[in-house]
Structure formats: structure tokens, C-alpha cells
Amino acid sequence: MKSAIIQLPGLNRDRDMIAALTRISGKAPVTVWQTETELPDVDLVVIPGGFSYGDYLRCGAIAARMPVMQAVAEKARQGVLIMGVCNGFQVLVEMGLLPGALMRNASLKFVCREVKLEVTNANTAFTRGYQPGQIIRCPVAHHDGNYFADAETLKRIEGEGQVAFRYAEGTNPNGSVNDIAGIVSDSGNVLGMMPHPENLIEAAHGGDDGRALFAGIRGKAA
């Protein structure tokens, strides 16, 4: 699998994501700076976590308007897999590639802890490494992960199986509606999730529940 990773000022989880992609796919991702207007021919484009532009205005709002994001949107239209984690998820909703919005945590506190996730839909390009309904461990670290969508949108994404991950066993850390932790686009090729699967991929992390997500993504050539 060939991948690319978007880099912007203020992101801080890009190196973790590069390490995860390199170890699991066997190939280092191409790094692409925010001012680029074209992306290489890859199977997966990742927008990693962090605090792009200091979370000014709204989390991910300014990053979403950078030149490279037009290229990301074009890849999404072509059906290339796009994955946004944490700040990357916030960028994808700000771009309109995913429905809804991510608001301040209901507790108003930054949360940095481990949660349990239910693999709500194991039949997506990103979750096929898991069993339906499987409960996995995953770290979270965010201040604005409180997923919101209006009632009509919520009904649609629930009905269409667009909820990929849900916080399970009472571990919802942010008050998100329906315990939503990650969603896919209606076309299925764009995933946004607040938790960090890239931070739980080997024994040194204390577990490897995040590994199957990356391992399950199949490249065109793979």
C-alpha cells in the first residue's frame, strides 16, 4: 500500500502516523506540505492529528482552506482512501468531506486517556481488519471531539452504516452524540475518527489493537 501524509504547521502526531504506516505497510508514506497543489499517486492519504494553526477560529478550519486540501478533495472524488485522525477528522468535517461538526468536549476538559471502541461497521475499507461489534482499546487526546450532527443527518448516517466506530462501555470522553467516535463518507472512502489507532500498534505501546485498521487497508497493487 502506498500512502501520503499531509503536513501543516501545528500538527504533532504526523511522526507517529508515519511510523505506523511505515511499519505496517512496509513503505514510508510520502510527506506533502500544505502549500502543494498535487498529490502523488497513492492508495491512502492521511491527515494526522495535532493542533493545526493553533486551533484558531475553529479546530481544523484554517487547515481546511489550505491549497493541498483541494488536492485531497479531488482524490476523495476519485475514490482514493482518505483518513483523518483527531485534528484530521476536524479538517475533514470543515472541508465538508464528512457530515457534522466537532465541538468542544462536553466536560470542557482536554481528555488524554484510553477508551473502548466498538467497531460498529466492520464492512468499510478501513475496518475490515476487525470483526463486527468487536470492542477494541484506543487512546484519545483532544479538546474538541464532541461530534454533532442535526437530527436528519444523524438519521441518515446511522441508517447508511456510516458510523464506523462508537465509544463503548461508558467510555465516551467528550459527549459526542450517539457515542460516535468515527464516521465514513456516504461513498465510504473517507474516514474521520477522533481516537488515535496509530498509537496502539505494537507491544511497546501496551497493545496493538490499532494495527488491524492499517493492516486491513488494501492498496490497489496489494
Binding site: V93, E94, M103, L108, N146
Partner: protein
């Protein structure tokens, strides 16, 4: 030079945990009559030129494209 103020507020029905926290703090200060608080944002802009109609249409476009997230927020534009 045209001066304008853009006000961005949360749509009705969108929970506002920050507003709730402020409401609690006002109550703690003894302002017992405060029914509810909703937090928003204000942007003051200076726009070159004197074409108010163009400024207004540009300001609306700025709100749609960047200043507001219309999934959760409403905006108003006022030119002074």
C-alpha cells in the same frame, strides 16, 4: 474604507458547553436572574473602497467560506 462587524452564534438546538459553564459562573457570582448564556464570536473588519453592496456580498461569502461553520453556526453582517 468600510467598517463591518460579523457576529457568529451557535444555531438553536446546538449544545453550548462553554455558554453553560459561563452561566454557572455568573450564577456563582450572584447573578441569579441569568436564564441562559450562549457564547459567540465577533469579527471587526475594515474593507478597502466605498462599494457597500460589494462589501456586503463579499462579507456574506467570507462567512459561508470561513468565518462561520454553517453546520452549527448562524452569522449576521452589519456594515457601519
Amino acid at each position: 474604507m468600510i467598517k463591518a462587524r460579523v457576529t457568529v452564534t451557535l444555531k438553536n438546538g446546538v449544545l453550548d458547553p462553554q455558554g453553560k459553564a459561563i452561566e454557572g459562573a455568573l450564577d456563582a457570582l450572584g447573578f441569579a436572574d441569568v436564564g441562559s448564556v450562549r457564547q459567540g464570536k465577533v469579527f471587526d473588519l475594515e474593507i478597502e473602497g466605498a462599494d457597500r453592496a460589494k462589501a456586503e456580498s463579499d462579507l456574506n461569502a467570507m462567512c459561508e467560506k470561513l468565518l462561520a461553520n454553517t453546520v452549527i453556526e448562524d452569522y449576521t453582517v452589519s456594515i457601519t
